[in-house]
Symmetry: D2
């Protein structure tokens, strides 16, 4: 899809909200995460573990993803777990580890915030704040995210329509924070072979309707390690501005999402493959 | 379904969490909302408007629902609206109106809380706190609800499995608050004629798996006023311990959910019909 | 819902096709299955095994369901099985058994037809022909069903919208066969605790949009024996004109659907309960 | 995904049926459609209109798609339309037109068969027979397809799980016809912006579980013309062995699916883009 196609009027059955609407910024928004630009011609890969578990785990994983070409590191300190008896994350201790590893490696860091009471604290440590799938409909949280001075990674609710996704972004934009990246991460369907159904249709649709950058999470979108590389390639081919991928230095020991985390030795070759796809569609993915 | 059927072991493909599990209280929990008991032989109907809009609106509606036989009044002061440009609720001002109307009419009141920062304040005004569908996966909010000294009405996420619903209740129970009522309110499917698909299968399933009371919201479960009475009757027949129904004194002027709110003159006849169903299955629904 | 409510115009977002439209027969169609009338004030229960397995099995089950108050017997000779290695039905041999048992017990019989080439043969044996969920979109089969001189039981596709369901009926009506009964039997959703999600919302919606009788299949709609009674009651309360229920004289030996088939001793008590619900909503369910 | 990954055992929660199972032919099946090989290193594109409408329409469209690099022509003579009042296809007259245009252009032709009674006739005209999404669960049709001496294009049911899809293929394979190509064409979800949700996760999953070739239909998988190119590229990147794309010489006049059919001038540039993706993943897509 060429940029000029954005000018063709489309009928998607609803009104795109005014601030998220591509019309309000036809050239597209570039989101700047402490120097890393998302939304330009270069595809950006965010990588790291699901949860921050220890200094060693995060540091070893960070080295791997940096070496592979990731530009931003992910990792969760506050984890929205389905069961109250699952590991809930290290909390502020995890944020401290993450900040330290980010400073050591030079990788900006993105981490999830789940509670309005933690917004300021998380913003003090992180370069980018994630609002996760389970909180896409958490409007007080979205409003707070609109008041913070950090870019926001907004994941699509697993049950959210594209219209609702855009309206969630509008909640943030409407408070004044214009640095929002959208992330398709799979929706819930009747299919049970995969954890979610990655809705790549959403990528060209969102790129057309909004000026905000759009990235894809093939880890949650599949839930299965060996499917991740295929869908990572497909996501870039579909026009995504980037990816967020789970990598763990020892997936079989992970406290969460081990089944969908790539092994360290898988990450580099995947990045090489992704660069080829990026070039094939006229973009780039610079590698170290 | 007789009580003894609860003793037959069932295989539902997952482990019911320990505190929500019926095994932990085989006779079933009775939740006491300022004197109104949910979970016993009597079916309890909660009714009122979607949003609190004014003293007059709430008071006039409260009189109608009380006269019809509702035992608890509903009404929202903090509204989780899909669009940031929709009416967001009156906030604390709405809570004050609600408390006043509750005191005037003698009806206990239930209202939604969306933000951990508001938990205490809302608990100061309300007799029961609702955690809405969009926040069923909001774990910090669930944990706070587990620490408050008021009964909780937990609505099923619109795309939550029954397993996830039980685990959300477990988050509350695990903090020490055992006064939790579950509410089936429709799930999201491909069908577009109705706003949601009311999953009444969930009623007998939940009654078997957990000791917590189970009620049904036929207003959100259908989204269409003229379907509400049929599904209210079906819900009681399926074994629900109660209903939560939207009624508005002037639906066509409602600031939210007018299309699914009953007219005042529809509520009384519906209650008469519901009583017949309750009696037909060996329960009761006392009317004034 | 009273009959007069059918006169209130409704907007469901699509045009109801002309022959299925309630406007074309506001008083509602009565479908006559060899003397048993579906669509009138009396609720009709169809019962029997999933598959015809033997003379003994069918005859013993038929006696049970007749004694309990069923008015029509169900049983499959041609079975649409997901796996080619599953029992595929006895074919014409099964039809002969069914005709014989029907004649012995005086119960009209309904059985599924899956192949346009078998339409005439099946019509020679059966009193009513079923088009199953997997064939609701099989338009050549629907057209043939429109040309046969027997009433049709059309089941909703497991992922068919209400609009598509009405259009499938229209295929039959448009060929001249006006004796069509619609059957809600559960739709496919993300929920996995139950085999399907029984969409009882569809009952009042269909009753309003079309003049055709509407029945419910709580066996396929739940997939679990112990949920069937609750949903059978809910279906009658929602306004269904009847039910189709799986009963097997020895469910644990059934060649198909044993898990959702009622035991013989469960059927009679269920019918007694259903009659109470029918009376509570102003209808009847005459028992022997 | 490299071929060797097929050797890693995977747990998908069900048993892959024996004949469809990759274990029964680890190197993968090549399906030969009158000389065009699907399943090898070269990506194959099938293109043409939804319905055959006239000689002129088909011939003009065929020239365009051949010139663009399509290797097989698609077009429907028997159309499974949701409404009985929609254009139902030209029937055998359409098949004659298609055969003639195929012979003129040298393109093998694939067309849908919907009725067991037509299997032989359609096989007389076509090079490949399509079983459409609405008939994936039509087991008598699958069995007949297993007896015919032509390759089969089996589309995934819009409501079918991957397990059911493999079992549908097994019905064909089990009758002796081993020339089966699977086609992902979008599944039905709650999202309404697109006609279906294209499930590209299914491509790597199917490639791993079965030896049969897998292609993708981005036209039905999106339902919107301007989304087709992005998803066509994504499909190739995900590992699909080919595509089936709707192209019409005058989409605005099409009797079916005009909204999702590419304009003639869009097809050539798309093919050039697709070749780049194919090369980027180590495959090829030879162009004229």
């Amino acid at each position: 899809m060429e940029l000029e196609t954005y000018n063709i009027p489309v009928n998607v059955g609803f009104s795109v909200p005014v601030r998220a609407n591509r019309d309000s910024n036809p050239d597209g928004t570039i989101v700047n995460v402490t120097g890393v630009k998302i939304g330009g011609n270069e595809v950006v890969v965010i990588a790291g573990p699901c949860s921050i578990e220890s200094s060693e785990q995060l540091y070893e994983t960070a080295k791997v993803v940096k070496q592979g070409g990731a530009r931003i590191m992910r990792g969760g300190a506050f984890k929205p777990r389905t069961s109250p008896y699952s590991f809930q994350g290290l909390g502020e201790e995890g944020l401290k580890i993450m900040r330290h590893v980010g400073d050591e490696t030079g990788l900006p860091i993105v981490t999830e915030v789940m509670d309005t009471r933690h917004m300021e604290m998380v913003a003090d440590y992180a370069d980018m704040l994630q609002i996760g799938s389970r909180n896409m409909h958490n409007y007080p949280l979205l409003k707070e995210a609109g008041l913070v001075n950090k870019p926001i990674l907004l994941k699509r609710g697993m049950m959210a329509t594209i219209e609702e996704f855009l309206l969630a972004a509008e909640y943030i934009l409407n408070q004044g924070n214009t640095q929002v990246v959208l992330c398709e991460r799979g929706i819930r369907t009747f299919e049970t072979t995969t954890r979610n159904t990655l809705d790549l249709n959403a990528v060209p649709v969102l790129k057309r309707l909004t000026h905000l950058p759009v990235i894809v999470d093939p880890s949650h979108g599949t839930g299965v390690r060996w499917i991740v590389p295929s869908m990572a390639k497909a996501a870039i081919a579909s026009g995504a501005d980037g990816l967020i991928v789970e990598v763990h230095y020892k997936p079989e020991t992970a406290l969460s999402d081990g089944n969908q985390s790539l092994y360290p030795e898988e990450f580099g070759p995947l990045m090489t493959d992704l660069k080829k796809i990026a070039l094939a569609i006229g973009r780039d993915l610079p590698l170290p």
